[in-house]
Point group: C2
Chain length 239, copies 2
DNA sequence: GGCTGTGAAGCATTTCACAGCG
DNA sequence: CGCTGTGAAATGCTTCACAGCC
């Protein structure tokens, strides 16, 4: 359905602009929470950051934090944290703060990270291989269950799964019921790959290709754009 | 000095929150353009996207576009493009639109991409290697001129440059006059690496480590966070 | 007493809509 | 006549500030 925020395109993501009527639309597709007061996408994108900070507190053996402490760990204001969380419920205790274990659980539930998600990776070149072997995926709830590419890598077995030909994206993704796709192919083929993923039933796409991926409204697209990030930082470098 | 926008942390970046007084502060450091009416960081972060779209038009042999065409190629509104560009000058022609060659040149100048920038890469594991071998860097104005790591990779020669020991970041970066650093090391060492880079004179940091990097105000930090992007997309996946 | 949750206020960004130039 | 550039309006997000619960 509709979309969210739109200040910039998010850390990623994009889409059509003034499509229907308003909503600058981009990155986000409609929430699977039609009833909610429509939570800003910006808030949704901050939740993973809160999660990381909470993890860090847990590791340090801390059991509860107040909004002030959490805020300074992340680099935002305490009011923002309280406001963000208030969109979803009342997780704190006056005079106390937030129980970290509890809050972590709530955020996981909100983001639907309290289950595991199958992911399809398209493109098994340098980047794709780095993604597969990246340890950072392990502690998360995502598991790469299908890999696609063309050329010689097809047929190769990685982590127990066979690299399929990109031509089979739609049927394989559909068969496996995969809802998340990662695009790690060159720009020229990115849009086509996205279309195939969508046709296979994917509704969330993370793309590393530096182009604006067009997708239906119900598909969320986020873009990882290190080059763009660098190109915008040079603006601020003082000589 | 100060900072920019702050809606989320940008596609990346972050920093302290209510540091001085207001400005949510984050990602951006003061512009090297103290006189300008202070351009929103969000606008700066969109310029690389405009650049990509313009490139694509050039490749297709198109010489000029109006705001409407450019907008629909990117997925934003025409008004936004006109407003964004108006922060920097008047690059269009009424009744005509924008000359692509000219506009590309102007944006390059604005972002200071009309020169080449030396970059230091810290971390030469899977990710670091993928970054070095990533073709996407070639057509840009960035060149990795120093690589750092620990362990066995030290001393190895890559693309003509030797992998230095991370202990030497500060002196080497300083010696080479490098102003941009890329952090591709595990979370635990990321902050320390950032400190070393800053001590060496770096004022723009692109980090792949999923933690909030603290840096002085004059340093711009942008974060690439694929895991966070995925964790926030699951919110929208409809069953 | 401390700290959350939240109206209301304050800002920032986007969009409208149109005067006016080429 | 088309399309830019831009006041002014609209929208959206963040921060203030405080009532009220633990």
């Amino acid at each position: 359905m509709a979309t969210k925020s739109g200040y910039l395109f998010g850390s990623t993501s994009q889409s059509d602009p003034a499509r229907a009527a308003k909503r600058p639309s981009h990155e986000a597709a409609d929430p699977a929470h039609p009833d909610d007061p429509v939570i800003p996408d910006i808030v949704i994108r901050r939740l993973p950051i809160y999660l990381r900070a909470l993890d860090s507190f847990i590791i340090h053996g801390i059991a509860s934090v107040n909004s002030e402490e959490l805020a300074s760990a992340i680099g935002v204001t305490a009011a923002q944290i309280r406001r963000d969380l208030s969109y979803f419920g009342r997780f704190g205790k006056q005079g106390k703060g937030y129980d970290i274990q509890l809050l972590t659980g709530e955020i996981h539930r909100i983001l639907r990270l309290d289950r595991s998600w199958s992911v399809a990776l398209v493109g098994y070149g340098n980047l794709g291989q780095a993604i597969v072997h990246y340890g950072g995926f392990v502690p998360t709830t995502f598991s790469i269950d299908a890999i696609f590419d063309r050329n010689e890598t097809v047929g190769q077995v990685v982590n127990g799964i066979t690299v399929h030909d990109s031509a089979d994206i739609t049927p394989v993704v559909s068969e496996l019921g995969i809802r998340i796709g990662i695009i790690a192919v060159p720009e020229v083929s990115a849009q086509k790959i996205a279309d195939q993923l969508v046709a296979g039933g994917v509704s969330a796409i993370l793309t590393y290709a530096p182009i604006v991926i067009k997708a239906p409204d119900h598909v969320t697209v986020r873009e990882v754009d290190p080059i763009g990030a660098m190109q915008s930082m040079t603006y601020y470098i003082e000589e």
